[in-house]
């Protein structure tokens, strides 16, 4: 196998390209494959150039010169700091992280679980994550924020609410467990809709 094929089929290269593909989730499939093809060609050309100089291509060096997949994805998706005016404050860094695919899953997981672990404060933390992240639309943020309080208000004050749920403390507690889960499902739904 030629050196450039070895480099392209190296598991580390494949993992890098897979990660880049995941981070490019905001692009259309056509644009995503265009960027991935170009990056793969860069890797191949770097290996060929090294071989032409009589050197053995080093996968780690090639990937290092390309940079972090998330940074490439941000530049490709127009979410870099020039486009958004993001700086380097803690909030900006958190915003950049939460905008990534990993950050998106953290937000959904926190929304689903944090309220059970730390009642109220966990929900507040999850909502802060939702609002700080530029990934969610304003509508998604507003709906996500309203599900719990509106659920509680309906439960307590709607004439059919208490009858429907056989009002007692236990059912209210159940609602407070279920509502954050519904919020997480809503965010998941928005994610799937965006992917489509």
């Amino acid at each position: 196998m030629s050196s450039e094929r070895e480099v392209l089929h190296d598991p580390v290269t494949q993992a890098y390209l897979n990660e880049l593909g995941s981070e490019l989730d905001r692009l259309s499939p056509g644009a995503r494959s265009q960027v991935l093809d170009q990056v793969a060609e860069h890797i191949r050309d770097a290996a060929l150039d090294a071989s032409a100089r009589g050197e053995k291509p080093d996968v780690a060096d090639i990937l290092r010169e390309l940079g972090d997949p998330r940074t490439i994805a941000m530049a490709a998706q127009g979410r870099d700091s020039a486009g958004t005016g993001m700086g380097t404050s803690a909030v900006d860094r958190l915003s950049v992280f939460l905008d990534s695919r990993k950050g998106m899953w953290w937000t959904i997981a926190t929304t689903a679980v944090a309220s059970y672990l730390v009642p109220f404060a966990g929900w507040i933390a999850a909502m802060v994550m939702v609002w700080v992240s530029p990934r969610w639309s304003r509508t998604a943020k507003i709906v996500a924020t309203l599900i719990v309080p509106v659920g509680v208000l309906l439960f307590l004050y709607a004439p059919w609410g208490t009858n429907l749920l056989f009002f007692d403390g236990g059912n209210l507690q159940l609602l407070l467990y279920v509502a954050p889960l519904l919020t997480a499902i809503w965010l998941l739904f928005r994610t799937q809709r965006r992917a489509e």
Partner: protein, 132 residues
């Protein structure tokens, strides 16, 4: 240095990295077009040139903007046989791209003249020059 002076220095410290990053990113596409105006280049060659100029730190950052420039009709690609392996994808500036970079040149000239004038008009102009 007293405590107040130290905190003031830290608070008002010039955010060098952020400013440089934002300025570089703002001009990246235009500088890419300007390089392509001098001759067609394949992706890695272009990335290395931009890296040498200090306009990108990771070479991969150029491929998103290149895809956008292709979509905008400012660059197109063609395959060129390579003496060291399979054909390479070369990036070629289009007439629309050449017009765009000329427009940027005019804008940059006006802007840089204005910034130079503003920087030259302040009382710290002499000090800034010494530091440079």
């Amino acid at each position: 240095m007293g405590w107040n002076a130290l905190t003031a220095t830290l608070y008002y410290m010039f955010p060098t990295e952020r400013v440089q990053t934002n300025l570089r990113k703002a001009v990246l596409e235009w500088c890419t077009l300007a390089l392509l105006r001098a001759g067609d280049m394949y992706g890695r060659d272009l990335a290395v040139r931009l890296g040498d100029l200090g306009l990108i730190t990771g070479y991969g950052s150029i491929y998103g903007p290149l895809a956008r420039m292709r979509d905008a009709g400012w660059v197109e690609t063609r395959w060129v046989e390579s003496p060291v392996g399979p054909p390479r994808r070369y990036y070629v500036i289009t007439p629309d791209g050449a017009d765009a970079v000329r427009g940027f040149e005019r804008t940059w000239l006006n802007l840089s003249t204005a910034v130079d004038a503003a920087l030259g008009s302040g009382p710290s102009h002499g000090n800034a020059k010494e530091q440079l």
